[in-house]
């Protein structure tokens, strides 16, 4: 761990018990399994993967909002250091201010009966971070301006706003406590393309100006490619590959990452049918296959893959991959 790392996890697992029938073995959902990850301070860290791969669960575990079943999560922003699996109540209260979440759905997340000012001010009041109403107002105005909301907006109720404006309100609310770490879970997924770019640019500007660290969860790889400096790819609760963005998009090493990238529909009508087709669907996390979790869909799976689970292996500058065959495949595919 370098002293520039904000979040470090070691073998982090999050399991949810399933309330099944009365008979039979008790089942668990292995939503996140054995994840070791480092998120550098000030980075815009992307987390991608298919639905159900554990992105939200991992994000919530880093916010201490999902149970940490095994493993370690260390938070270190230079001022304080917390071991999240063993954190006490007082420290957790402080951590809640330092780590915040931006929700996906700008329509569901905002209470319809509160003014925009009260929605943004609420975290300050709940956490007791300001001493007077005047101070609260000052903080609200400051963050609202940064999120390109004006004083007129603050007096209104959220229903009067479009999707893009609502998402800016959610962002202001998440940032008003001056967090160091922000998890943005599908923060632009519900927005139209024409306004999505505006919210993404806002997030980038704020991250740079305020020196924040972002965990940006998204299923949209093109968006991730544009805004993130680092990307981690998840599959069935595991990390399959992590790398600096450029590296990952130029030289993906895991067969799943390759398939994901090639499945993005190209805007060029003459590139039809070039996607590398992946058969089947993601297996259930209650009953994951033995060996490599991707073996049921991997076109390159061999016997070893079906028996032995690959470890996340360091293969070059900040590039990690979890595949038995990555080396021979990159030679083979480079020749083809």
């Amino acid at each position: 761990m370098s002293d520039r790392t904000l979040i470090t996890t070691r073998n982090l697992s999050v399991h949810y018990p399933l309330r099944g029938g009365l008979i039979g073995p008790r089942q668990v959902v292995r939503a996140v399994e054995g994840v070791s990850i480092e998120i550098a301070r000030g980075s815009f860290f992307g987390l991608v993967g298919e639905s159900g791969s554990g992105k939200t669960t991992l994000g919530r575990a880093l916010l201490r909002a999902a149970p940490i079943t095994h493993g370690e999560v260390i938070y270190d922003d230079g001022e304080v250091e917390y071991d999240l699996a063993a954190i006490d109540k007082a420290a957790l209260k402080d951590y809640r201010r330092r780590a915040q979440l931006i929700f996906q759905d700008p329509y569901a997340a905002l209470s319809p009966r509160m003014t925009v000012r009260d929605i943004i001010a609420e975290p300050l009041e709940v956490m007791g971070l300001t001493k007077s109403r005047a101070e609260t107002d000052e903080r609200v105005r400051e963050i609202a301006a940064r999120c390109r909301l004006n004083l007129e907006h603050l007096r209104r109720f959220p229903h009067a706003f479009s999707g893009g404006q609502r998402q800016r309100i959610s962002i202001a609310r998440a940032l008003v406590s001056r967090p160091r770490f922000v998890v943005a879970d599908e923060a632009v997924a519900a927005l139209d393309v024409s306004i999505q770019a505006d919210v993404l640019n806002l997030l980038k500007d704020i991250q740079r100006d305020m020196g924040l660290t972002f965990l940006f969860i998204s299923h949209d790889l093109s968006v991730v490619a544009h805004v993130c400096d680092h990307v981690a790819v998840m599959y069935l609760g595991r990390l399959v590959e992590t790398a600096p963005t450029r590296q990952l998009f130029a030289r993906p090493r895991h067969p799943y990452t390759r398939a994901l990238l090639s499945a993005i529909p190209s805007l060029d009508p003459d590139e039809r049918g070039r996607a590398q087709k992946l058969e089947g669907e993601i297996p259930s996390p209650t009953n994951p296959p033995p060996g490599c979790k991707f073996q049921t869909r991997c076109p390159y799976a061999i016997d070893r893959c079906r028996k032995e689970e690959p470890e996340l292996e360091h293969i070059g500058a900040e590039h990690n991959v979890s595949c038995h065959r990555w080396r021979e495949l990159s030679e083979e595919l480079a020749m083809a």
Partner: protein, 333 residues
């Protein structure tokens, strides 16, 4: 090519508590047999209600404009859809000549009836098959769209299937009556990219095999580029540009279409900054006068675009655009 559908001057308003709102305003387009038309536009631009109009499936508070004319050209002669009244008359389009895959994933299947029973019931209404034949065809269609264990799935409920499987089952049901026109409303939006790629492939195979036409509704231009022959772009209830997919994507001519393409993150140019279309989509209660896009348009002509609705300018045989600036440039050239 043989014409399948003509939509002329489709105008559709809804009576609401807040007054009458215009959802579709004077939209015209045509589709030939076997052709795939993409329909794109922002949320609320009127894509779904346009599609539902073709089967007169809009809610009860819908009011169609008097000029609206929708003609479906079938082998037995043309059908005037607006003139269909009773449920019996409507049968020729609903689930017969036209099938629709709905945007709301669960809307296509009744929750309490098995997938198989719904498919069979639909076939019994629209064909003269026996129950046994209907059952066999349904299972065959489920298998055809890549559902393994089709006979077993036949007895399951929609909620028991994964997202990708449910989408396949919906396609199987929509196709089992062999429609001439399939309307697919955001059929892949809720799916992961790898599953989306499978479903897109499947739809292409089926077009080739069944020779039907498709209206493919999506807000994803990449999906359009991969599937459609022609594309129509909607904004706030109006068609702003339409033409062959290559022309529209390579030489977009409406400022909104251009903005939409510029706003897309491009994997080939990671350094290119993301360019939003400025401003927000106006609420349908505050429809702009003149060109509906003028409040967000960076090249609007002062005094003209705010006042006058732009008519279509023909750029070449099939590519046309509704923009004053394009008309002016065309006139000057």
């Amino acid at each position: 090519m043989t014409r399948l559908l003509d939509v002329e001057n489709l105008t559709l308003q809804f009576d609401t508590d807040e007054g009458r709102i215009t959802a579709v305003d004077d939209v015209s387009f045509s589709i030939d047999q076997g052709q795939v038309m993409g329909l794109v536009g922002e949320s609320g631009s009127g894509k779904s209600v346009t599609a539902k109009s073709l089967m007169k499936l809009n809610a009860r508070n819908a009011v169609y404009g008097p000029q609206t004319k929708i003609t479906l050209h079938l082998d037995d002669g043309p059908v005037d859809v607006m003139a269909l009244r009773s449920a019996r008359e409507m049968q020729v389009v609903r689930g017969g000549a036209i099938s629709m895959i709905f945007q709301e994933p669960m809307a296509s299947f009744a929750p309490a009836i098995t997938i198989g029973n719904q498919m069979v019931e639909q076939l019994l209404i629209h064909t003269d098959m026996s129950k046994k034949q209907a059952r066999e065809l349904s299972i065959e269609m489920l298998a055809r769209v890549g559902i393994s264990d089709a006979a077993k799935r036949f007895n399951q409920y929609a909620f028991e299937l994964s997202g990708g499987m449910r989408q396949r089952a919906m396609i199987a049901m929509a196709l089992s009556t062999r429609p001439r026109l399939l309307i697919a409303d955001e059929p892949t939006t809720a799916l992961d990219v790898t599953i989306q790629a499978q479903v897109i492939d499947l739809m292409k195979d089926l077009v080739a095999e069944f020779g039907m036409a498709i209206i493919f509704i999506t807000h994803d231009l990449g999906v359009i580029a991969q599937t459609a022959d022609t594309v129509a772009v909607m904004y706030l209830g109006r068609l702003v540009e339409q033409g062959p997919v290559r022309e529209v994507i390579r030489t977009p001519s409406h400022p909104y279409t251009r903005g939409l393409i510029a706003a897309l993150p491009d994997l080939e140019h990671l350094d290119k900054p993301l360019t939003p279309v400025p401003g927000d989509i106006p609420s349908p209660l505050e429809r702009p006068t003149g060109c509906v896009f003028h409040t967000r348009c960076s090249v609007a002509i002062d005094g003209l675009c705010q006042r006058e609705v732009p008519q279509f300018t023909q750029l070449d045989d099939h590519h046309r655009v509704a923009c004053h600036l394009a008309a002016r440039e065309r006139g000057a050239a």
